[in-house]
């Protein structure tokens, strides 16, 4: 690993490169494509919910069977919802903050010249890309994309095309895509853990690792165990679909007037296996955001994070507890009601480390000398949105209240605030913060600020009303509101749709900023934000082996800001 021959051909340096920096950028580009695809789907969904009968220009030609004449059919809406959920959770929120920024910066921050197994690392990206292409191809098969949601509950997902349009080839492609994604994720997590444990430079003890590295390390440990459970679960689901086994399909099901040739399976078994992976997955999406905010906020507050060791302890507590709470997704699913009480306790206990982490951030802002760059604003936005999303979790954690709120828009508002917005704000903050280091060019701060203010206000206008809809009993995953008690809520849905279209359009500012800055951004210095961690003590962008020679030794912690005696900050690598 020490002497890596610097590859010369374009193919080796930019496409099939084993350099963790190139792989990190490839992951981020994939996530960028995925997030705009997912956003487009959410636009179509929101527009359909607000104005179901108004034809969408051009949709009729793009999807002749799904939306003849531009008016969306219910199964087309549900297939958009399924793909929106799957693309956003897997290919954006797991790929960008963890695989994208993690791949790029973990080796540099621990002072290594590359990941422990560069070839496996490269493979993990290309396997993720294959998984994404297999998923997207589900749109173009005859019956279209699956409609069983990103949770794909059996038997709707397991029976096959009798269960409805999209449940034939489309659902099989979905299952295969997730199976391939599990392989990629396990390889990625393996690399992260080994690099963190074994390839740290001299002086880089675990206590001296930057908090973003801690977050990626703990996320990869969670990811390892979570995806190691999802993989066999998808294999069993695939066997149920194609090989006629009955792991998840009980006897005597009559679907489309046909008695299904299965017997004895348990639909709850799929829900248990899925959510055993599902809840750690939402922490895989948010913990890198924790690490990123705790890494970036001190740089702009010019003071270290309040209680970094407490923060790390909270990360570990969350990682451990995340495996004990999956049942709160299934309070009303028909499992034994006693286990609902059992699962509600760890679910409420896990709010303690989450609250501590939030209070540590707010405590860090206290007494700071905050410089409000775009990255800093997105960190503050992250804290505010995470508070809103976390607090709505209080309601859903109690089985008695979940009796009313389960399956309503309250849940949609909750997980969008925490995953859909907070994690995205983490990705935005990381982009604005690390873009100069990755591309050697500065991003436009004015565009960044416009992007922040419009998005911050926009997301509250989109997702806070969803909590009100939930309180009114508005059921989620509905493609049209024909029930009598839902009709008075349609104006609120129209408000959300307008806000969603606006907030989505605002993201084009970010896209323009990213593309323009890559081509014509001002050249970036090695340490634009006066950070102290190792990524700032090498050139922008870093040379092939990160430090142009052996990695420097490290002599102190990652956040030596505002140290007593006039020096503003001391670099980690400074002797």
């Amino acid at each position: 690993m020490s002497e890596i021959a610097t590859p010369r051909s374009f193919l080796r340096t930019h496409v099939f490169s084993v350099d963790h920096k190139v792989i990190g950028k490839q992951y981020l580009d994939l996530a960028l494509v995925a997030v705009f695809t997912g956003m487009l789907l959410s636009w179509l969904m929101r527009f359909h919910l607000a104005w179901p009968e108004t034809p969408v220009p051009g949709l009729g030609t793009v999807a002749p069977s799904g939306a003849a004449g531009g008016v969306m059919t219910p199964e087309f809406y549900l297939s958009l919802m399924t793909m929106h959920g799957t693309i956003m959770v897997f290919f954006v929120l797991t790929t960008a903050p963890f695989a994208g920024f993690g791949n790029y910066f973990l080796p540099i921050q621990v002072g290594a010249s590359d990941m422990a197994f560069p070839r496996i690392n490269m493979m993990s990206f290309w396997v993720t890309l294959v998984a994404f292409l297999v998923l997207i191809s589900a749109f173009f098969v005859p019956e279209g994309a699956p409609l069983s949601g990103w949770t794909a509950y059996a038997p709707l997902s397991a029976v096959g095309k009798d269960a409805g349009p999209g449940q034939g080839l489309g659902q099989t492609l979905w299952v295969v895509s997730i199976l391939i994604f599990c392989v990629a994720q396990l390889l990625g997590a393996l690399n992260f853990i080994v690099t963190t444990l074994d390839l740290r430079t001299k002086g880089m003890s675990l206590a001296r690792m930057p908090l973003s590295t801690w977050a990626w390390f703990i996320t990869s440990v969670i990811g390892l165990i979570a995806f190691a459970v999802l993989m066999p679960a998808t294999i069993l689901l695939l066997l149920d679909r194609v090989a006629g086994t009955s792991f998840f399909i009980p006897a005597g099901l009559v679907i489309s007037d046909r008695l299904q040739p299965h017997s004895g399976g348990s639909p709850l078994l799929w829900q248990h296996l899925f959510w055993f992976f599902g809840h750690p997955e939402v922490y895989i999406a948010i913990l890198p955001g924790f690490g990123i905010v705790s890494h970036i906020l001190p740089v702009f507050a010019r003071k270290p994070l309040l209680g970094p060791r407490v923060f790390i302890a909270c990360l570990i507590a969350i990682a451990f507890l995340s495996y004990t709470v999956w049942g709160h997704h299934m309070f009303l699913s028909g499992m034994n009601p006693f286990s609902a009480t059992l699962f509600s306790i760890p679910t409420l206990v896990i709010t303690i480390p989450a609250t501590i982490v939030t209070l540590l951030w707010i405590g860090t802002v206290y007494g700071a000398r905050l410089r409000f760059t775009s990255a800093a604003l997105f960190c503050l936005g992250f804290i505010s949105v995470f508070v809103s999303g976390g607090i709505s979790g209080f309601f859903l954690a109690q089985p008695s209240i979940d009796t009313y709120l389960h399956g309503t828009y309250f849940v949609v508002g909750h997980f969008h605030f925490v995953m859909g917005v907070a994690a995205m704000f983490g990705i935005f903050a990381a982009t604005y913060f690390w873009f100069p280091k990755m591309y050697g060019r500065m991003m436009s701060e004015t565009l960044g600020k416009w992007h922040f203010w419009l998005t911050f206000i926009g997301v509250y206008c989109v997702f806070m009303p969803m909590h009100y809809l939930g309180l009114a009993g508005n059921v989620r995953r509905y493609s049209a509101f024909t029930d009598d008690y839902l009709k008075p809520l349609i104006p609120l849905h129209r408000f959300i749709t307008v806000a969603a279209l606006f907030t989505g359009a605002v993201q084009l500012i970010f896209l323009f900023n990213v593309i323009r800055s890559r081509l014509r951004g001002a050249p970036a210095p090695a340490n634009p934000w006066q950070g102290t961690t190792l990524e700032w003590s090498t050139s922008s962008p870093p040379p092939h082996d990160n430090f142009g020679g052996p990695p420097p030794a490290v002599h102190r912690g990652p956040q030596e800001y505002g140290a007593p005696g006039a020096v503003d900050h001391i670099m980690q690598a400074a002797p």
């Binding site: 422990a116 393996l190 003890s205 066999p232 294999i235 006897a251 399976g265 055993f276």
Partner: protein, 187 residues
């Protein structure tokens, strides 16, 4: 996590060792998921058709255990450059194990127990297939190490690669013994 306590320098065995340990944890977790699925599925309904495990499984187990033994010998002799024949014996035994598993499948098929016939046969096939895939992965890794051993300059990395490969292989054997116990108890 062996290296969690140690300070700065990369651990003596190198990343390969840690990588294999993490791989082992992942594979063990996936089998834990399959085992819990087996237990829940057996309790879910009364259509669990018990059948006697084909006797060839016990011969396969023997082959796998002896291959662990020969691999240990290969590791000791490797430092004196005489490890190759023992390593190829290990690979041979590994392939014998996999062929034996396929014979067990045919024995089951002869009894009319296919993948979809009953949940018990389904889990038998899934367990043996999932384990077989990982054994083949081990065979591929060890044959790559053997190729590098035979290729001449053994280099510093070889003993660690062989050590890591051996660790993985022993895990394959231990895992199979656990799986056999689970299958014997449950099916």
């Amino acid at each position: 996590m062996t290296a969690i306590g140690s300070v700065a320098q990369p651990s003596r065995q190198g990343p390969a060792q840690t990588g294999v340990l993490i791989g082992i944890a992942t594979i063990a977790m996936s089998f834990a998921a399959l085992t819990s699925a087996l237990v829940v599925r057996q309790a879910a309904s009364s259509d669990w058709q018990h059948f006697r495990l084909p006797t060839i499984l016990y011969l396969n187990t023997l082959a796998l255990i002896t291959s662990s033994g020969t691999l240990e010998i290969a590791r000791r002799k490797a430092s004196r450059g005489a490890g190759l024949p023992w390593l190829s014996l290990t690979l041979g035994l590994g392939l014998v194990f996999v062929l034996g598993q396929i014979l067990a499948w045919q024995d089951l098929a002869a009894q009319g127990l296919f993948l979809a016939t009953s949940p018990s046969s389904a889990f038998f096939y899934v367990f043996t297939a999932w384990h077989g895939v990982h054994v083949l992965g081990g065979v591929a890794a060890l044959s790559y190490v053997g190729y590098r051993m035979a290729g001449g300059p053994s280099g510093r990395a070889l003993p660690t690669a062989l050590g890591a490969g051996a660790l993985y292989w022993h895990f394959m054997a231990a895992l199979w013994i656990c799986l056999l116990a689970i299958l014997a108890l449950r099916i």
